[in-house]
């Protein structure tokens, strides 16, 4: 084994050996830990990488994202690599242009991998891959989760639009009227004042481009506009969500007979008891959790009181409503 290959194997040994000390956990830990990549596996991975990683570096088929990915997703997956049985391995069949699945060959293109090797474009011969599979022992996949991986994800633009419509008691008709353009249905904005948003790929599509731009601002993607979806907590998200949440909360509060925020019987007053009851109800409504009295008191003091005036509580209600929509428990799930 190459002396540097220990760089790969040692962390695996350290991680797995630390878990096998108590005898009661031994069998459990051993079944969890995967077979480590050998130096020959690394050699094969590096040989194939230039021709595969362009497409296979991310996602469920991201075999070339790392050694762990290559080992866990490809080498230890019997559907792709059958240890000791090159001819029964789909990987080899794909390289030879004889795949049995949706794709006949990899990499896709006019030439098989074997032809790329014969031309000198690829350096690792098919025979080397064949010999490597032939020599592979039984493989065990690593079933352990990554303890440091994020356990939350941000709501997509589509989810945000849907959630805001539902939670604020608003809908498409509050922002758009149907219009026709060249016979096609279009979402005609009722006014940019209301900060409408609509996916450019939706039917009906937004007639005003800025309605689609606002959807992109929340991280929405579009095939039509060649824009990838973005789920990061970006500045554009923060800025757009601030504006949209405040405007839409105001619109929801202004709408007659809107029971989403104030169901029948709920009092919308400046009385601290009524306000706090509303804040507690909204915590459940927006976040799916009931704030404690202490949390409600704090929110009342920090947000509602500074924004309320003796004659007008509307900005204070808008502020609190926007607070819940921009709360991390709303943005992430």
């Amino acid at each position: 084994m190459n002396r540097y290959a220990w760089l790969v194997v040692l962390p695996w040994m350290a991680a797995c050996s630390s878990e096998v000390t108590p005898s009661t956990m031994r069998s459990q830990a051993q079944s969890a830990c995967g077979t480590p990549a050998t130096s020959e596996t690394l050699r094969v991975m590096e040989g194939l990488k230039p021709h595969c990683e362009g497409c296979h570096a991310q996602g469920a088929r991201g075999y070339f994202a790392s050694v762990e990915a290559f080992q866990g997703l490809l080498v230890a997956d019997a559907r792709l690599v059958k240890s000791g049985d090159p001819d029964g391995s789909e990987l080899l069949r794909l390289l030879e242009g004889q795949g049995t699945g949706a794709f006949k060959q990899m990499p896709i293109g006019q030439k098989t991998y074997a032809q790329l090797v014969s031309e000198g474009t690829a350096k690792l011969p098919v025979e080397a891959v064949r010999a490597w599979i032939q020599g592979l022992g039984a493989q065990q996949r690593d079933a352990r989760p990554d303890r440091d991986a994020p356990r939350i994800t941000r709501m997509s633009a589509e989810q945000m639009q849907r959630a805001l419509y539902q939670q604020l008691g608003l809908g498409y008709d509050d922002f758009f009227v149907n219009a026709k353009e060249f016979g096609f249905d279009m979402a005609e904005s009722r006014g940019e004042e209301y900060l409408p948003l609509q996916s450019p790929d939706a039917i009906p599509a937004p007639r005003q481009y800025i309605s689609g731009e606002r959807y992109h601002g929340l991280g929405g993607g579009s095939v039509m506009n060649q824009v990838s979806a973005d789920r990061s907590p970006s500045p554009t998200l923060a800025l757009t969500l601030t504006q949209v949440s405040q405007r839409w909360c105001r619109k929801a509060l202004a709408r007659q007979d809107n029971t989403a925020l104030f169901p029948k019987g709920a009092a919308r007053t400046a009385d601290p008891a009524d306000v706090k009851a509303t804040l507690k109800r909204w915590s459940l409504h927006f976040l799916g959790e009931r704030f404690t009295d202490a949390q409600v008191d704090e929110l009342y003091t920090d947000v509602f009181v500074p924004l309320a005036t003796p004659t007008d509580t509307e900005p204070a209600y808008v502020g609190v409503c926007s607070y819940f929509i921009r709360h991390p428990h709303w943005v992430f799930y």
Binding site: Y4, A5, L7, V8, S39, L42, R43, M45, E46, E53, G54, C55, A57, Q58, G59, A65, S66, V67, E68, A69, K123, L124, D146, D148, A149, I152, E193, Y194, L195, Y209, I210, E213, R214, H216, G217, Q226, V227, S228, D230, P233, S234, P235, T236, A238, L239, T240, T242, Q243, Q246, R247, R250, D302, V303, P306, T309, P315, S322, Y323, R326, P328
Partner: protein
Amino acid sequence: MKLSRRNLFQAAFGAAHVGLLGRYGLPSAMAQSASGRPTKMLAIWLVGGLHWESFFAPMTRAGIQKFIPPAQGGNYAYGYNPEQVEHLDRSPVDLMSSGPARKLRVPVYWNWAHPADRSGNNPVVGNAQVYRPEGYVWANPAYKLYEKAVLLVGADQGTAAHASGLIASMSGVAGSTFRAPSVQAVVANAMASRFPDRPLPNVALGGPLPMALGLPALANPTLLSSSASVEPTLSDRRDGTWYGLRARKDEPDLAFDGTPMSGTVPATAVDAALLKAVRRERGTSSAGTDGYLEQLYDTYKGASRTIRRDMLSVLEKTPAWEKLKADPAYPEDWMACTGYADACGTMPSMGDYAFALQLLKSDLVSTVNLRATSIEGFTFDSHFVNGQIVHAQYLRIALEMVGRMCLEMSLTPSRSDPSRSLLDETLVYVYSDFGRTFPKVGSDHHPATCALLVGGGIQGNQMIGGYDERMEGSPMGIPVRLVEESGDIATRTPTSQDVAATVLRAYGLVPGKDFFIPGGYGVFDGVVRS
């Protein structure tokens, strides 16, 4: 294949290295402040993959005859003969030189005596073509824009897929998602400490976002699809949105972990309560979750500052086109047409150049990524019949537009350093998804691409690289001299990593110290000013 130490490190760390680098603080490095370096970037994405070889001529006489159709087309001037290839500085051309370092040269479609001529026949090609004025902006001796431009030729993108190629052009590494931060984000991050007054470090005007993978939240791109989206996104002017909610108080600036920092955050009551709420989430789940929350936290702080800054007023006071239009040859209402005026369009139909100018002139930004096309939104993914012919017409117009943008910037003094122009303090990086198959074999995707760099930090009037003229069909690039990460000089075919590294090096950023690109990378030798 040798199982080298570098390969092993690369394989062992894989995509995770970005996070490791972030943890050890490498990407937060500052750019050298040496004079002459750019401090801003205008990245122009010409959509769809370009026939670079139809506008520039980085080939020998034999190569031109082998790969390029002869001059033809009349009003639809297309293809070129070796005889019409000239240096933009009009010095004698040696078409026998195999490169890889040459002066900028192009097939000349215009009439040198009357550059606006679009009806006379071009005798250089036996009257097979009618003069086309577009592209002359790069050669105009009154401005000598070529002295500030360099073309990197024949870089292997490692892919011929649109999304993957775009990511390769932005970050250096092809893939379905980013595995290294975009050059735009790296520069925005590096400039943030030197220019804290730039509230929008990394702005995207349409198109896929130049992601800040692993960098601090401030380098995340702000999407402003057009100037129309600025007012309702960045300001608190609208009563419908802000009535009763505008009041801000300077709150002490705390880090996500509660550590006091210098300065304050101009927060509304809602902002302040939210920052407190996000801080409380810290440590309740995994390190990855904390990373996400910290991004949101920093972003909320940034949003408070952005809205307080009243950028709209700044932008409203900043003119877009103001200098170049003094030259009657370059009016602001320029309209270009293809062929006999089959398709015509104005400057704004090619992208929001005017808004990009305002952003750069106003000093609100460090980097602007502009999605750009040709007239009437023509993109360059020209798979259709005779696509390469149509493509060539539109590309001349699009690059004329890019050139006019650069001229306007060269005539505008820098706000922060009056001894320099806006173009001197900006590196204009023109890229596309990839190249296209050479015109004799159609107009499909081709992984060998080019990058056009204009402005600060580089040595202009150069084409570095070329095409392997021994190949058939659509050639790949030829070896060029590169300064590798190790500092060694190597001669090899360039890759997308090398283009990204060269762009970053122009800012004085040091490979391996200030940035890292997976898969190895070198800097084109002789491009970056020392």
